[in-house]
């Protein structure tokens, strides 16, 4: 059923796979196949990534000069608002779960599909509906509240498309809830015989933890948006201090979701890193249980730290104390993971394929990003650093340097599985390095800008900050190129890439034991699992008894 790729063999794509069991637009738009839905998501999020990226380009262009000379202030405010909304809700939140998670989780656990294929498709349609609301809002003039919709600004003081955008967030939120719900039920109920919890790949654990956050956290965002909409439309008073309401209540409701949201965004990426590091060191992940439990710990602790976004907003000193302490606790599991991944390299057999390069980039940049989180979690330094470019640098380090790198690592790692073809290795390595260099130049100067005091969301700034801003924009240009190149060669590889075979990386994991691309039903017969995760000895043993692939 599988064959390890050997360079001498002439490989061909399997005759029957999930792409060609059915043809036609409707067979894609009405599919229940988790793999097709994953590809639908891949197209959508890539498209919106470039929309958000274009906004980022505009921001950096404007910030080349200290004066507000490229666009009007209102326009600039709309650009950064939509940059945040599009990148967070339409790219980061669904990126790994909806593409790689959808594609791989059933296969990794030995199932034929997710528990609820129709709800999976519904998730995608909700994503498109939410995204359409954002597009309508953009076409209609945009929204300029910032992605955080702070009241009373968003309820009483702007006359842009808050309601439309709010509806978009609401709908996209339910897309996320249903994806998480699907994953949880699938992982609990549809594992193949022998696939116990502690034999699951760490990618599955990471997505499971993220799914818990999706399911429990997103509805609170939904209700916060509903209340903003009601306040805005009818003036009900729930956030209006002149009527007895408290604008800080919105902050609590909003951040109760939006903090776990950042863990929703990063945990699946961490799952990818576990898989990539293991495969390219030919070793089981060091401390499997520690990494698995760390994912769950991040998910649980992540619910108790939301007010660290609100230290200077008038919290009582004692609440601030509690949240700061809990924030320090939530930082520890991430540190544990970094050390476990580093230890996985020890006495491994390391190769430097593109996914591994991205994984190394992740380890370096996420470590910096995560440590700067400690700067912000510590109350005293947060006073000086909050709402400055230090925050912008911090979250871009963890989200872009961390999550986006992990996403690219995952796309490159599983590209042969999803498409049956390899991408050009030399070019992909160059793109990875370009991305890394561009990233450092874009975002590292922003830490310095932040400590100097340059506030975020600023259209214009004092002239002494210009040099660092120019450096940042220069880096952004390089970064943009680094992201464009993969689009080109990945698209090229779909038709002209070298045929990959079922296991080009000689990796463990059930997904590498089936053909590339997989059959619609994934497995012709449900496997019985009798080995641990990352069991390279089992893989060796299996390779020696090759069985021909189907089709």
């Amino acid at each position: 059923m599988s064959s390890a790729a050997t360079p001498e063999q002439e490989l061909t794509l399997p005759k029957r796979n999930f792409y060609n069991t059915e043809y036609g637009l409707l067979s894609w738009l009405l599919t229940g196949d988790h793999k097709r839905i994953a590809m639908l998501y891949l197209f959508s999020i890539t498209f919106f990534f470039f929309v958000g990226g274009a906004m980022a380009g505009l921001i950096r262009l404007e910030l080349l000069t200290p004066l507000p000379d490229l666009m009007a202030s209102d326009t600039y405010n709309k650009v950064f608002t939509l940059h945040g909304i599009v990148m967070i809700f339409l790219f980061l939140v669904p990126s790994v779960p909806a593409t790689l998670g959808n594609f791989l989780i059933p296969i990794m656990i030995g199932a034929k599909d997710l528990a609820f294929p129709k709800i999976n498709l519904l998730s995608w349609y909700l994503y498109i509906a939410g995204a359409s609301c954002f597009v309508i809002s953009m076409v209609n003039g945009g929204v300029d509240t910032g992605w955080t919709f702070t009241t009373p600004l968003s309820t009483h003081y702007v006359n842009t498309n808050v309601l439309t955008t709010g509806i978009g967030v609401f709908i996209a939120g339910f897309s996320s809830v249903f994806t998480g719900l699907n994953f949880i039920v699938t992982i609990h109920r549809m594992r193949a015989p022998g696939m116990t919890w502690f034999r699951l790949p760490l990618f599955v654990w990471a997505n499971y933890a993220a799914s818990i956050l999706m399911v429990l956290g997103t509805p609170v965002l939904a209700i916060a948006i509903v209340l903003v909409a009601l306040e805005r439309a009818f003036g009900i008073g729930v956030f209006d201090p002149t009527k007895g309401g408290d604008p800080l209540l919105f902050q609590h409701l909003f951040w109760f979701y939006s903090h776990p949201a950042v863990y929703i965004m990063i945990l699946p990426g961490m799952g990818v890193i576990s898989e990539v590091i293991s495969t390219f060191s030919r070793k089981r992940v060091f401390g499997y249980a520690a990494v698995a439990f760390s994912s769950v710990a991040i998910a649980v602790f992540g619910f108790f730290v939301w007010a660290h976004h609100m230290y200077i907003m008038g919290l009582s000193n004692y609440s601030a104390l509690v949240f700061s302490l809990l924030t320090m606790l939530v930082a520890v599991p991430s540190a544990i993971k970094i050390f476990n991944w580093s230890a996985t390299l020890y006495k491994g057999s390391i190769s430097f394929d593109t996914p591994m390069l991205y994984a190394f980039g992740f380890i370096g940049l996420f470590t910096i990003g995560g440590l700067t989180g400690v700067f912000l979690g510590s109350l005293g330094t947060d006073i000086h650093l909050t709402e400055t470019y230090f925050i912008v640098a911090h979250f871009h380090f963890v989200m872009v340097g961390g999550m986006l790198m992990a996403f690219l690592a995952g796309i490159h790692f599983w590209w042969p599985k999803m498409t049956g073809r390899m991408y050009p290795e030399g070019l992909s390595k160059v793109a990875a390095v370009i991305t890394f260099v561009g990233f450092i130049f874009t975002f590292f100067p922003q830490f310095i800008l932040g400590y100097l005091g340059m506030p975020r969301r600023y259209h214009a700034y004092p002239p002494e900050f210009q040099v660092l801003n120019v450096l940042s924009t220069a880096g952004a240009t390089v970064l943009g190129i680094g992201y464009l190149i993969p689009i080109l060669y990945l698209a090229w590889s779909v038709k002209y890439g070298k045929v990959a075979g079922s296991n080009p990386w000689n990796a463990t994991g059930l997904e590498w034991q089936i053909q590339s691309p997989p059959l619609t039903e994934n497995f012709t017969e449900i496997p019985e699992v009798d080995h641990e995760a990352y069991d390279y000895e089992w893989l060796e043993h299996k390779n020696r008894q090759e069985v021909k692939s189907i089709g």
């Binding site: 002149t242 060091f286 200077i312 020890y346 430097f352 190394f360 400690v374 006073i383």
Partner: protein, 352 residues
């Protein structure tokens, strides 16, 4: 900071500030913030170097060509414990240090000079007790603790002085405070650091720190009208506060002499410390702050008075240190009182 030689610190700080990669340290608290910042940079660097060394060394030593066969290692509880406990310990140090710093910044000393700041889209208004008003600027003397009482007229704003390492949100609906003591004469950036709409990035200004003599000169030259307390006295009369809050034994409202800073008994049975925020709330939501022994008949002034007006009233009430002082107010405003309609009685419809 006391552990580092002051000379070395001064040299380091000067070099850093001149490098334009680091803001000037212009307040008493700035060196403390910087010290914690340097500690955090240090542990971050060490952490990053450790990770980089591990990854780098292992990548070289265990390169596929050099080390073709991997050794399967399950894990090590000892290592897990080590790299759980050490980071946790370091983060907890950062927590304790940061918390101490935070309490320092948000707990003003008792002798701090109070200045009111009202933020609105898109400007900062500073109200000095002596009646000086500034827009997008704040003159302060060096060497004195200054407390800022902040409030917003519309949306969230945030008053940020990077050179002092302090920042505080100005919230619509209640006062927030922050304090600092400037240590260097000069002019420093003031930023609004909470996104507040179109001209958020134009809501900037200057903090001008002067020597005490220059500050006195500035104070004298910029008074154009009444002090805040005087203005408050005027409002006290025009808004008919003294109809009930007079020192007469049968007055409908409690006398406000010495009320500021006292512990007040409420009808609900509890007691409350009277500060600026309490006074403001009592003016806007009087029924929820009824003093023991009085009826809830005070009308609300929500919508009838601006934040500056409330600030003036609060400043005035702070100066009421005796019934005689209250009487003085009555005497000078009796004529105005007689001309006005009778004070509102309970049950009268008042627009909420």
């Amino acid at each position: 900071m006391s552990h580092i030689s002051p000379v070395l610190w001064q040299f380091l700080e000067k070099w850093l500030a001149n490098s334009s990669l680091f803001p000037a340290e212009a307040s008493t608290i700035a060196p403390y913030t910087d010290a914690l910042y340097f500690f955090l940079i240090l542990i971050s660097l060490i952490g990053l170097v450790i990770v980089a060394l591990l990854v780098g060394t292992f990548s070289v030593l265990y390169n596929k060509r050099r080390h073709p066969v991997a050794v399967q290692i399950e894990g090590s509880t000892l290592l897990e414990a080590t790299w759980t406990i050490i980071p946790l310990g370091l983060f907890l140090i950062a927590f304790v240090w940061g918390a101490l710093l935070y309490f320092r910044i948000y707990n003003p000393p008792p002798n701090a000079m109070n200045i009111y700041i009202v933020g609105k889209q898109w400007m900062w208004k500073a109200e000095h007790p002596g009646g000086q008003h500034e827009i997008n600027a704040l003159h302060i003397p060096i060497g004195r603790p200054i407390q800022l009482t902040l409030i917003s007229q519309d949306v969230f704003h945030s008053f940020s002085i990077p050179a002092f390492r302090v920042k505080r949100e100005a919230i619509p609906g209640r006062y927030t405070t922050v304090w600092f003591q400037a240590t260097k004469v000069g002019s420093y950036h003031l930023f609004c650091t909470q996104y507040c709409g179109t001209a958020h990035s134009a809501m900037i200004g200057e903090i001008i720190v002067q020597t005490p003599e220059d500050y006195q000169a500035w104070l004298a030259s910029s008074v154009s009208g009444a002090s805040l307390a005087q203005n408050g006295e005027r409002l006290f009369a025009t808004l008919s506060c003294n109809a009930c809050h007079n020192a007469n034994p049968d007055s409908r409202g409690p006398s406000l002499a010495n009320v500021y800073g006292s512990k007040l008994q409420l009808v609900t049975g509890g007691s409350v410390q009277v500060d600026d925020g309490y006074l403001r709330d009592a003016i806007l939501n009087p029924s929820m702050h009824v003093t023991a022994g009085y009826a809830p008949i005070m009308p609300t002034y929500q919508g009838q008075i601006s934040e500056e007006g409330i600030i003036s009233l609060v400043e005035y009430i702070k100066t009421l240190d005796s019934n005689y002082r209250v009487q003085q107010t009555l005497n000078t405003t009796e004529i105005q009182n007689q001309k006005q309609a009778p004070a509102t009685a309970p049950g009268t419809t008042v627009k909420p």
